[in-house]
Symmetry: C2
Subunit: 370 residues, 2 copies
């Protein structure tokens, strides 16, 4: 069995996802390894925390190191020395956000590399071919992403084009090694478009369904509303993946509504910039009030790394621009995210989701000066 | 016993140094932790490799985080979470190399912070007070460093001033916890000045003797010559520390002549810039010939990190400016340096120093395209 629901509490689900490179328990947060590395993290440290799946970006892997290298290594797992499941996006999102001079055609999208300006034409087939070279356990269909506040007509057209590309992606997808292909539901924040996109995507038929086009500036409230307008149209027996989300409270609300999978650069990016996640909210370690504070980042954390270093030392490392600061805070933040998911999974198993979610909110809101 | 010679082979010595925070076997290489962190290295990883002592820079620690913070933490060991011996320099060298507008007086040196331009007057007493706040196992007297190619008169004056400061440093040194104080022999590459400096420093009397003012541009040959002109005047029963040295072959030649301790930024700095040390010489991993090379950096290394990652992956990480590249190569280089010292210590114990040194040279010179 590929996907098994073990327990539910309301709409929240605790499931097992069986992938070529291992089992993944959901709800799960996937750290982002854009360029074939979760920034500032040894893969052993990801193991130590307990992550079972990470994400890589197809757009970046295609430009560097490229398919020739990936093929020579038999895929990204071997290249980066990560022996557990991998998920890859399709490259669509990065083309919108990173590359210059994109031009959308019916068959694909022209873009210029953000590295050297070289011109490429990304089609559904090419995206699947790259993901095949990467050899990821879960692969995504090519979709057209639009920004928040795009006009209705454009959102509708992008949704329709994405449906066409989803079909073409499925045709080019290599089922080798029982890899999985996920479709992506689009439609901005419009309930009718979301419903239509969900129904049409399901007609094509995929191993799982992603909700795309969120976390693009619409805010927490509209995001949650859109989940309420989308999830009811998704099949119960397939994994649901909310792309690019999000804050700890985004995750709590999305799991409550039945989302199984998440990825986001927040914990790693914030960590490199001196922002730490704790049960009591965020701490900006660069703040001078921490310069002689011998308490750990989070006195309540059971993580050995979180407990080991003082705020004063981390403050010092960031002031002195030392790499170790980014290394420690990245670890602390990823550990916080993983601990949060462990807590949510347990809450579902114990049928206490609302109670545990309320406790998380209370602590977060208190922002006590620990 | 503080310092015990276990075995000698020619002039090379295998000794045990008993310090407040632990034993150190010599000859030893000490990684440099300038700002209270060996750049890009978790302290656990230093332990994993097997380092028993590291160095920190007094000048940097004084400016940031400062003595107030260090005192609050009871010293640098606790602040940076390193439970083994520490050695600190006196700050003299950094004042020459880093700060602006230094002005030497008889009693000390005026300098402006390289961070914010704030003006300070570093005296032998202040240097010892800072090192006391750091709480290092081995502390160094304040000395005046001069560049290579300085005229004879200036070198002589700097040497004389350093002798005066050495005396003042000893007066201000806190013997708390059986910490050790080392004197520093100066005198450029002039044999007479070196002899005089050694004799006068010994008269003052220290727990160990450093050879300063080398590795400042004189080159390998003149450095080795100066060792030959200095070490005969140093007492046999005290540790000898060659400051700021050096390349792997510098270490081989210095150990052969009876040096016990070394520190150098080379392995860490080179690692952050993509240069890897191997038994067969250096590899610049940024070279495009490694872009699809699935061999490890050093196929003969027994280090699990060195064996784990391919040259192609490391090449990719450096091209993509990923922190993990610096993290891995720093580890690999420090491991190479530690392995080299283990090899030299064993060679002394086995009375095979010349044979093993020749083997190291042969491999290094071959630079075979591994």
């Amino acid at each position: 069995m590929t996907f098994e629901i073990k327990k539910t509490d309301g709409k929240a689900r605790n499931c097992i996802l069986n992938l070529p490179n291992g089992f993944v328990e959901t709800p799960v947060f996937m750290p982002v390894g854009t360029q074939g590395t979760v920034k500032a993290m040894f893969t052993e440290k990801l193991d130590e925390i307990g992550f079972k799946i990470i994400l890589a970006n197809t757009y970046h892997m295609f430009l560097r190191p490229g398919c020739e290298v990936l093929d020579n290594f038999g895929g990204l797992n071997n290249f980066m020395q990560w022996d557990k499941p991998l998920l890859t996006d399709s490259g669509g999102f990065q083309i919108m956000s990173l590359s210059k001079l994109t031009k959308i055609e019916n068959d694909g999208v022209y873009f210029k590399s953000h590295i050297d300006g070289k011109r490429f034409f990304l089609t559904p087939k090419l995206s699947m071919d790259i993901q095949n070279s990467i050899g990821s356990d879960i692969q995504m269909v090519l979709d057209q992403c639009v920004e928040y506040n795009t006009d209705e007509e454009k959102i509708k057209n992008a949704m329709s084009l994405s449906l066409k590309w989803a079909e073409l992606s499925k045709k080019s997808f290599s089922k080798k090694n029982k890899r999985k292909l996920f479709g992506i539901v689009q439609g901005g924040i419009n309930p009718d478009l979301r419903k239509h996109s969900a129904e049409e995507t399901i007609k094509i038929g995929f191993d799982g369904y992603a909700i795309g086009g969120l976390a693009v500036g619409e805010g927490h409230k509209l995001m949650v509303q859109t989940l309420d307008n989308t999830i009811p149209f998704l099949p119960k027996n397939k994994p649901r993946y909310l792309m690019g989300v999000g804050t700890p409270l985004d995750l709590v609300e999305s799991v409550r509504r039945g989302v199984d999978m998440f990825d986001c650069v927040m914990p790693t990016r914030a960590g490199r910039h001196g922002l730490a996640y704790t049960c009591n909210g965020n701490i900006n370690i660069r703040n001078s009030k921490y310069s002689n504070d011998n308490k750990p980042i989070d006195p309540y954390s059971k993580c050995p790394i979180t407990s080991k270093y003082s705020r004063a030392y981390l403050h010092h490392l960031f002031k002195a621009k030392e790499l170790l600061g980014s290394m420690i805070l990245t670890y602390i933040n990823l550990r916080y995210y993983d601990d949060l998911m462990i807590k949510l999974r347990k809450a579902i198993r114990d049928q206490k989701y609302d109670e545990i979610a309320n406790q998380i909110y209370e602590k977060w809101d208190k922002k006590e000066n620990i």
